[in-house]
């Protein structure tokens, strides 16, 4: 067992445990905090995968932006001293079965798939990513800005208090 594998296992356990906590824990704020932990673990995986930029972007977008948004959402939609309610819907067993079936399927594919692993060294990711984004993927890049703008407008429109 090498250091990389060790690190992977630690991170994997961290990710999976915190992900499980996210979907089961009763308190939503705790769920959000576990979500942060999970995201941080994924960022660590990206570091292992030599995707520095993505690791940093993961922190910036998921932890710094999305989780803050979610925390906001939680605090705006829940009474602070909210009563305890069951966290799971009544059909949670069916959901578990569905998710389990899907998991089996995914595992089957993941383990039996014949992937052509290349042994070339990876590129310097940041420069390559930047160049790729403004050359080959410039159209999706511009579209992404449009999508973000639409999301911005949509979110403002949805969240605005219409009585005012």
């Amino acid at each position: 067992m090498s250091a990389h594998q060790l690190a992977f296992l630690v991170l994997g356990v961290l990710i999976l445990v915190s992900a499980l906590m996210v979907v089961t824990v009763r308190n939503l704020v705790h769920a959000a905090l576990f979500l942060i932990l999970c995201f941080a673990g994924v960022a660590g995986l990206y570091v292992l995968l030599q995707a520095e930029f993505l690791a940093v972007a993961q922190v910036l977008i998921y932890i710094g932006a999305i989780t803050v948004l979610i925390l906001f959402g939680i605090m705006l939609t829940r009474k602070i001293t909210g009563g305890a309610q069951p966290p799971l819907a009544s059909h949670w067993k069916a959901a578990g079965a569905g998710a389990g079936a899907f998991l089996l399927l995914l595992l089957y594919v993941a383990m039996t798939g014949q992937w052509q692993v290349s042994d070339q060294p990876p590129m310097d990711s940041t420069t390559t990513l930047g160049l790729a984004l403004v050359t080959r993927y410039v159209l999706p890049f511009e579209l992404a800005s449009v999508v973000l703008l639409a999301a911005l407008v949509g979110a403002v429109l949805l969240a605005r208090d219409e009585t005012r």
Binding site: A3, F53, V59, L60, A65, L71, M75
Partner: protein
Amino acid sequence: MNLPITLTGIVEGALAPLGLQGLTPLVVYLLDALIILLLLIMPVVTILIWLLRKMLGFIQRRLGPMRVGPFGVLQTIADAVKLFHKEDLFPANADRVVFALAPFLVFVPAVLVYVVIPFGQGDGFVTKDLSVGLVYLTAVTSISAIGIITAGWSSDNKWSLLGGLRSAAQLVSYELPMTLALLGPPLMAGTLSLSGIVAAQQSVWFVVPQALGFLIYFIAALAEIAHLPFDLPEAESELVAGYNVEYSGMRFGLFFLGEFANSFTICLVATVLFLGGWHLPFLGGLPLTSWQTGLATVATMALLGGGIWYLNWRRAGWTSATRWHWLGYVSAAILAAIVLVAGLVGFISVVITLVKTSLLVFVLMWLRGTLPRVRVDQLMSFGWKALVPLGLVNFLALAFQAATGIPTGWVLNLLFFVFVGWLLLFAWRKRWAYSAVS
């Protein structure tokens, strides 16, 4: 300057028998953070707090701490000792885990930032010169908002919740203009690495072509660290003390520490990104030899020491000032001697960076002593309606300049200077008018 025995080497040597060499970078990273925490943050924050109190005292025509140590330099340490001794209180209905965790969520990012900041010239003065350093910087600083929200929420107190939400809103809002302003330097330098950005400022500091960006960054950063005039989250008169009202003891100390570490951080980042880092003014184009640097440093230190001495003389009278002012000269002399003898360019570059940073810190304190707090709606509308559009225009102008070579960025800055000049003229005339009336 490179130490003959590097941290990496030591760690690798220690891990090799275990077969875990792969973990070396991670361990080095953590160790570095620890070293930074112990050797940099703690002393710097200690000094900063003392300096702030002295400065505020000076501005408010009083002495500030004078009891503990010469000029009260040990006051902060005394305060820290006091904080350690205080009881660590938990509110009755608090979410204990989150409550305990929140201060670290604020403090740890403040420390992690230092990993990528180059303090001086050479590899020895930056823990990890990430190729995505600037993104890392913004990413890490954005984490502290979570700490603030959770601190406010877990206290189970509506004032702290409101304070937490408010400050999170503020942090999220001002992150936008700050990031927009931060995009300028890498655009000109062509790299996201902070060392690369500093190196690109050898001939011209980015504050010259990007004065507007510098100003936007500085204002937004003030709001990011909840510094006056944007210290809404801690508005005592409105929210008791905001998200940290229920905290006591060292947990409160962590918030406090994080806050001061942050104010040092933004000045450091501003220095690195806009003020040329370790480059000296007007010497940028020259090869930086040790004795030139040494002379410049001595001159700067002498000026600073003389300034501090002068201020103290003005405020404290002869007694204390005459007793201690030689300290400044002696330290300057020792420094100069070290520089001249050893030719430690790298070390000098650290000193230059820190001097610039302290000048900015001085400005920060100056602001703290003079400006009133803004209202929350003013805060939001200023951020969204003034800084964000300005930041966008600035970024567009710079990007256009970078892409086409048409100097739109320069033009924008010129306009900005004209505007500032006009404002100053206006203010001067107003002042003149008032003085004429009175």
